[in-house]
């Protein structure tokens, strides 16, 4: 697989979903991923699920990292994995993070919900980006989508 060569930079798509224009975290994430050796395609703010999917197809992405700060995530993410599978992108690693639901809800409940949506990893109100970056480096070693999304299959 071409992607395994040592100087290959994994391609990650990032963006803030829905009508959210919280841009600060998005910009910091771009820097953090770049500084950690990823090639970042930043769709920035107010991104629709279809746009994530289209971008993943265009750049042959290894992973997509969806952010939501205002809690719109729950509304927009429900069909995320299905959309990717239908585009032949079932192998793409899907992460989601931020303040992904509206209101105060138990974190494990939120994680379970988004895993059901097909996300491989869920970071609800986790402020340290380096956790997700370490996970992503690990997940990419094992090839794409060893996690929930692929395990559930089509």
């Amino acid at each position: 697989m071409v992607k395994m060569s040592s100087d290959y930079k994994a391609r990650v798509i990032i963006g803030v979903i829905g009508d959210d224009i919280h841009v600060v975290g998005n910009r910091i994430m771009q820097l953090a991923l770049e500084e950690s050796g990823f090639q970042v395609f930043n769709l920035r703010t107010r991104v629709r699920p279809e746009e994530f999917c289209q971008a993943a197809l265009e750049v042959n992405a290894d992973a997509v990292f969806v952010s939501s700060l205002n809690g719109e995530g729950e509304y927009w993410c429900a069909d995320f994995r299905r959309l990717f599978r239908e585009a032949g992108l079932g192998h793409v690693i899907l992460y989601v993070g931020g303040n992904i639901v509206v209101g105060n809800r138990p974190t494990d409940e939120v994680i379970k919900l988004f895993e059901q949506f097909g996300f491989d990893r869920v970071y609800h109100q986790v402020t340290d980006i380096s956790v997700a970056i370490a996970d992503l480096q690990e997940d990419l070693k094992h090839g794409a989508a060893q996690h929930a999304g692929a395990a559930r299959g089509d």
Binding site: I21, V24, R27, I28, M29, R44, I129
Partner: protein, 468 residues
């Protein structure tokens, strides 16, 4: 290359105004009637008069806007009684996005249910006749606070309501507030706003304009702020505005605050004179910390007191105040009134000796001045048949780059972090045209930072949470 000039002044403004005023929500505003109304408005309602009478301390201005007329009326009275020198009228975000129908629907719902479904006063939905009633007995200026890329109708309704201070500008109300509003269109729409401020001005009672210097309030280097503020002052002067305030937000470093104030004041005057706008009177406005606030109210109070003292040191003409509830959302009127009182207490108790200086401040002042001049000269030298075109190109080419702007046409390449003193430094200027010597100085100053070896994004996260 096209330098700032009166040749850019909008022609046929009467015809243009007639088009804008056909909007049903203009409710038949007549320019002649507005002129007559403004002639009867007390002179103290004009910022130039308020500034001339301000005495030793900066004027105090809170923020605030509620959807219901009665709530806004009460807020106005409470803030005035608490000693606010300028009364705010903060506009809701639907009106800012020109979604007047939604604003009107949510106003009705707020009226029916007695709950606030809007985060500000929907001025266009209320209209100018009702809004005049808000200020019947008021002898202080009212300041329109919004964030509107296309503020043509909003400014018309505000002026018709007797509001003599219009905040904003083509850059400061677009780059930090909008993701996709075309910058060139915004520049043209703000020409309209500036022009109607000018045509509604009279000798001694000009409609005053104020720019919003904090921009994204997130690690914006002072040189960028100074350049943007001066550009907006020049754009307003082109259209005939004669009373203009430049502003900036507390940087987080006292050294940098003092230096920024000095450069901003000096260069604004210098460039206005340079382009033959000697008649424009300028003022300096200081915004208390615009970044993330501490949740502990004691700390918030300490921060508010400290920045009040800084506003006195820099001899600001006005300070825009925050409240101890900043971390929690829109403050209650009592909390807002308390903030005015606290700031007044600091201002009158700790009157500064003014001229505060030190070798570090002088060094910082020289650096910001040199950088701001380089940026402005580069913008002036861009091709274009009018000054606004050069500004538009400056964003396309990244000569102007506002950190953390959500706007799709902002370069987002400049990297800034704080040095050991908390001053904002340019770690990587990208296409922003500062000299290589200044870039070297910026990097050198960064060495004073303790966690310099850490990753940039970690440093930035710490910097953004500076006051938390």
């Amino acid at each position: 290359m096209a330098l700032p000039s009166t040749q850019a002044r909008l022609g046929e403004i009467d015809r243009y105004r007639a088009q804008v005023l056909t909007h049903p929500l203009a409710r038949g505003i007549s320019p002649e009637e507005v002129r007559d109304h403004l002639a009867q408005v007390p002179r103290q309602r004009f910022p130039r008069v308020a500034y001339a009478n301000r005495g030793a301390d900066p004027c105090i201005q809170p923020r605030g806007g509620f959807p219901l007329f009665e709530a806004q009326q009460q807020l106005t009275q409470q803030l005035s009684a608490a000693g606010a020198d300028f009364i705010p009228l903060t506009i809701d975000s639907y009106t800012r996005q020109n979604q007047y129908d939604t604003a009107t629907q949510l106003l009705h719902r707020s009226e029916e249910e007695g709950k606030n479904y809007l985060n500000g006063y929907p001025l266009i939905s209320h209209g100018y006749e009702l809004t005049r009633q808000l200020y019947c007995d008021l002898e202080k200026p009212v300041s329109l606070r919004h964030g509107t890329p296309d503020a043509r109708l909003l400014a018309e309704v505000a002026i018709a309501s007797g509001i003599a201070e219009i905040e904003g500008g083509a850059i400061c109300y677009c780059l930090p507030y909008s993701e996709g509003f075309p910058i060139d269109r915004c520049l043209l729409y703000w020409q309209y706003v500036d022009r109607i401020c000018a045509v509604n001005s009279t000798e001694g009672a000009p409609i005053h304009r104020e720019s919003f210097g904090p921009l994204t309030a997130t690690l914006v280097p002072p040189a960028i702020v100074v350049a943007v503020e001066i550009i907006e002052a020049l754009l307003a002067a082109e259209q005939g505005v004669t009373s203009f305030a430049v502003s900036f937000g507390q940087t987080g470093s006292m050294i940098q605050d003092i230096a920024t104030a000095t450069v901003l004041r000096e260069l604004t005057r210098y460039y206005l004179d340079e382009f033959r706008f000697e008649s424009v009177q300028t003022y300096l406005v200081y915004h208390q910390w615009m970044g993330q606030f501490p949740v502990q109210r004691e700390r918030a109070a300490a921060l508010i007191a400290c920045s009040a003292a800084i506003s006195s040191i820099i001899s600001a003409d006005k300070i825009v105040v925050k409240t101890i509830d900043e971390a929690f959302g829109v403050p209650r009127p009592e909390i807002n009134a308390e903030a005015c009182d606290s700031v007044r207490y600091v201002l009158r108790t700790f009157r500064s000796a003014k001229a505060v200086t030190s070798p570090m401040i002088e060094h910082e002042t020289a650096l910001i001045r040199s950088e701001a001049e380089s940026i402005l000269e580069a913008v002036f030298n861009l091709p274009g048949s009018a000054f606004w075109e050069s500004i538009y190109r400056a964003f396309q080419t990244g000569l102007l780059d506002v950190p953390f702007s959500p706007h799709a046409d902002n370069a987002n390449k400049l990297l800034s972090v704080r040095d050991g003193n908390g001053s904002v430094r340019i770690a990587n200027a990208a296409n922003v045209p500062i000299s290589s010597e200044d870039a070297r100085l910026e990097r050198e100053l960064l060495e004073s930072r303790e966690d310099r070896a850490d990753k940039t994004y970690r440093q930035m996260l710490n910097d953004i949470r500076l006051m938390v």
